[in-house]
Structure formats: structure tokens, C-alpha cells
Amino acid sequence: MSEPILTVEGVSKRFGATQASKEVSLELHAGEVLALAGDNGAGKSTLIKMIAGAHVPDDGEIRYDGQRIGMLGPQGVRDLGIETIYQDLALADNLDVGINIFLGRERMHRRFGIPFLDRRTMRDEARGALEHLGIRLNDLSVPVRFLSGGQRQAIAISRAVYWKARVLIMDEPTAALGVPEQREVKALIRRLRGEGVAIILISHNLADIFELCDRIVVLERGRKVGERRIDDTDEDEVVAMMMGRVVDR
């Protein structure tokens, strides 16, 4: 198999008396969807926050393209091409689609030598980025709070993809959506995978995991208790691992 794009090696993280993460290792390859499963409190959030740069691991290391990224911080990690979409999506609900895709990296232009935000260019490019993913919105000037959950999710994904994310971490992307929208977001994930994006998917929904993912890593109380190719396992085994009844050593 090819070189992994992201390698997590023996990372641990402790918050006071809580061992949130204990010697977790995993590898992620381009064009692969990896499920991160586990019960509440299993350490999924801690792990993705370490990858995203929001937490610094106490021990172990995280490498992206061979480069150590554990200390870079959220902005540094994102600049390298690792985007994380948390459940709240971090969209500015009062601003339009174009601005949301560009927030933090705005396009400016000059008029009479004075810099102005270039809203039109941002909106046009946002339209392009959305259409590239098969998303069409009539009116990109409405605040995103008026859009549906699926559309908002799609905007958060487009934002990541527009900025050339090569690793995309998604926290429960379908949890708040109706069935038709879940289907479309899943189609979107498959499409990104086809384009070679490496995806880590946190989900409670085993059906989604078996439908979308290539591999699954199961965490339990901070430890990695199992890893399977999705074709080599079934829901019963995954549930058993989540409950700590099957532990690979």
C-alpha cells in the first residue's frame, strides 16, 4: 500500500485524572474513508482535536506527509490541508455563502487605491466550488441560517475542499439531517473520496459506517481496541469492540 498521508503514533492525552487518549495509533491513506467509532467518552473527540491541532498530545506524534504536526495549532494544521468539520459547522449564520467559504482568507480588491472586500468574486467562486460538488443554490446572498441542515453541511464541506483539504475530519456529518439529505451528504463524501481526499468520519450510525467507510477504528475509554477492514467485520463485532468485549492485542 502507498505511504499514509496521516500517521498517528502512540498518542496519549490526559486531562487531570482522566486519561482521554492512551497510546492510540492509526494510519490514513489518500482516497480512503476511515470510521472512528466508540461509545460516548471513548476518546474520539480528543483524538480528532489532537489531529486538528486544538489539543497538543502529551506523548506520541502525529505526522502529515512525513512532517510532525502535533505542535502547529489549529491554524497551522489547517494551512497544511487538514480540515475539521465539527458538528456546529462553525458557520457565521448571519453571513452569506460566499463570505462563509472565504472567512479568514478574504479576497480584496482596490478602488481608488483603497482596499475593499471583493464580495462579488467571493460569491462567484463560492458558486463554482459548490457546483463542483453538485450543489446548486439559487440565491447565494441569503444568510446561511436560512439554509437547510444539509445545505449548511455542504457549505462547510465545500469550504474545506475549496481550500484544498487533503484530509477531512467530519464529526457526525449526518446526525442532524433528514433522510434525503443524509443520502446527499453521503454521496458527497463518496465523491470526495473518489477525488483522493482522505476522510476520517466520526459516527454513531453503524449503517452509515458500513455503507461509506473502508476501515474502522474502534476506541474504548481512550484506547484503540480494534481496527478492521470494513469487509472483514460486521456490526456485532464492532458493537462488541465498542463495549470493550473484544480487544486486539
Partner: protein
């Protein structure tokens, strides 16, 4: 509802949406028409096309607007600044005290020192507000309510408990002069500052981050915005415009009063909300605040003009605020209706 959105907005809803978003313009137009009709009916002459009336309205609006400009930024960022009433008073009395202490200087120099001291001292409560809200995460309502008391006491202490009269021709000309005998100088200065604030809010990254912060703090954090520093800047700008209101006051009346800004505070808050801002943050514009300030100024002056007891001002402005909030709510409902349920 799907990721592919193929519906167009029905025309009647489109019209309604335009109407609700332009309501403050319509309202401004209606009150002008009302006073104009009253004026012709009662006095047989014009209300609005009269130079003196226009100047008075614009000067009143200037006082409100100066306090409301910085407040607009604060409210868009999902905060509130109650301290500006006495920040204005503090700037007014400090300016007056400094000018009184420097009678031997040439009037322009004494005036410049006074303005510098007034703006300078106002930045102190601005910094403290920024520190309380940005760094210590105190809710802005509480933090600036505390600073309302602190600046109030400071202003009266600086003033020695009384109004501080000054005699300085530069200040007098600044506060009462007119360009070409038509345009009052404070109006011109206020218009310049207003344009600058409009540019900042509508066309720069800074303005965008103010909106983002008010809409969803996490979106600003994610975009790499230093929200603590942004909060400092916002409250400093609020203190700055409030201090300008104090400087206009002292210049116009040749006297600094500690409570110069107090009666204007609620009008400034009202102007921002009439202008389309929302208490939850994330919306509002400088243009809207200008219209809001004009509406209040016209109501104030117009009621005096038609001979109503001044107490009716409070009732009328109060009702306008309530109407503004109701329209704001229905606008939101309408927008939701037209984008997601059709």
C-alpha cells in the same frame, strides 16, 4: 428540501421582503410627510425645506449618531455598551477643564489640547470595557453597566460636581460654525466619521469579523480571528465616538456637563435598533443607524415644532422602538418562509 435548490422566490413575497427591509426609509418618509402636512395646515409654510429646521434636525441627529456609531459595532458583535452616556460626559468635562486650565494659550492650541484630553481620557473606559469583556469574558451588559457607574462618578469628580463653562472662540466656532453659512461644522465632521465607520464595517476584514463574531463566535475563531483583540478594538471605537459626542457638546454650548450624554444614550440605542440591528448580534448597518438617528431627531424636533409637550418625545420614540423590533422579527420570519418552506 435538497442540496439542489431550484425554487425561485414568489414575486409577492419578494415585494414584501423588499418592503420590510426598507421599512425604516418608508417610516422616515412618512414622518416627514406628517410634519410637512401639519406645518402647511397650521402655519401655511414648509417644515422640511426650511434651512433652520434642517440644521436643527441634523445637529440633533449628529449628537445621537456620534454615540450610536460605535454602539452599532458593539451591538453587531452581540454586545452592548451602556457606559457611553457618561463616557461622552467625561470627555465633555475633561475637555472643558483642560481648556479652562490653559487660558494663556492661543485658543486653537487650547482647543486642540482639550480635544486630545477628552478623546484620550475616553479611551480609558474603552480599554477597561475591552479588557472586561474580551479578556475576562464578563457579559457586556454587566461589564458596561459597571463602567456606566464608574465613568459617571469620574465625570462628576472631574467637573467638580458642576457644569464647567469655557470661553474659547475656536471651540465656539467648531460647535456653532457653518460652512458657507449652510452646513454646520459638527454635521460635516460627523458625516466624515460616519463614512469612515461605514467603510470599516462594510468593506474591510475588520467589519466582516465584527459580523462573524456576532453571528457565531466559533466561526470567527475558526477563521483565525483574534476575538479578544477584536473586542478591544470594538469597545475602543465605541468610546471614541462617544467622546466625539462630548466634544461636540462642549464646543456647541461652551460648557462641559458630566451628564451631557446621559439623555442621548437611550436614543442612541434606539437608533441602532431602528436601523435594523438585533440584540442577538450579527446584524445592523451604519446606514441603518443613520436613518434611525434621523428618525429620532425628526420626531424630537417635529414634536416641539408642532407645539406638543416634550414628554411626548419619550412616548413616540418608545413606540417606534417597539415597532422596529416587531418588524425585525417579522422580517426574519419572512426570510425563513421565502427561503426554506416554499
Amino acid at each position: 428540501m435538497s442540496l439542489i435548490d431550484s425554487r425561485a422566490l414568489p414575486p409577492h413575497l419578494r415585494v414584501l421582503r423588499t418592503l420590510t427591509s426598507a421599512w425604516s426609509w418608508i417610516f422616515l418618509f412618512l414622518i416627514v410627510v406628517f410634519f410637512e402636512a401639519w406645518s402647511w395646515q397650521t402655519y401655511g409654510r414648509t417644515f422640511i425645506a426650511n434651512l433652520y429646521n434642517l440644521q436643527s434636525i441634523l445637529l440633533t441627529a449628529t449628537q445621537i449618531l456620534m454615540m450610536a456609531l460605535g454602539l452599532t459595532l458593539v451591538i453587531i458583535s452581540a454586545g452592548i455598551d451602556l457606559s457611553i452616556g457618561f463616557t461622552a460626559g467625561l470627555a465633555a468635562v475633561t475637555m472643558a477643564v483642560v481648556m479652562r486650565a490653559t487660558p494663556e494659550l492661543a485658543p486653537p492650541l487650547s482647543f486642540a489640547l482639550g480635544v486630545g484630553a477628552g478623546v484620550g481620557i475616553a479611551l480609558v473606559p474603552g480599554l477597561i470595557n475591552g479588557w472586561l469583556i474580551g479578556r475576562l469574558k464578563v457579559p457586556s451588559f454587566i461589564g458596561t453597566l459597571g463602567m456606566f457607574g464608574v465613568t459617571r462618578g469620574m465625570a462628576f469628580l472631574v467637573a467638580g460636581g458642576a457644569t464647567v463653562a469655557v470661553r474659547n472662540e475656536t471651540a465656539r466656532d467648531f460647535g456653532n460654525g457653518r460652512i458657507a453659512d449652510i452646513l454646520p461644522i459638527p454635521v460635516l465632521v460627523a458625516a466624515t466619521i460616519t463614512l469612515l465607520f461605514h467603510y470599516l464595517l462594510a468593506h474591510t476584514r475588520f467589519g466582516l469579523y465584527v459580523y462573524a463574531m456576532g453571528g457565531n463566535l466559533q466561526s470567527a475563531v475558526r477563521a483565525g480571528v483574534n476575538t479578544t483583540r477584536l473586542t478591544f478594538t470594538i469597545y475602543l471605537l465605541s468610546a471614541f465616538t462617544a467622546s466625539m459626542a462630548g466634544i461636540f457638546y462642549t464646543s456647541r454650548f461652551s460648557a462641559g456637563a458630566a451628564d451631557a450624554g446621559e439623555p442621548i444614550l437611550l436614543n442612541a440605542v434606539a437608533a441602532v435598533f431602528i436601523g435594523g440591528a438585533s440584540l442577538t448580534g450579527g446584524s445592523g448597518t451604519i446606514g441603518g443607524t443613520v436613518i434611525g438617528a434621523l428618525i429620532i431627531a425628526i420626531i424630537q424636533f417635529g414634536l416641539v415644532f408642532i407645539g406638543m409637550p416634550p414628554f411626548w418625545q419619550f412616548i413616540t420614540v418608545g413606540l417606534v422602538i417597539i415597532v422596529a423590533v416587531l418588524i425585525d422579527q417579522s422580517r426574519d420570519r419572512l426570510a425563513r418562509l421565502t427561503t426554506s418552506a416554499a
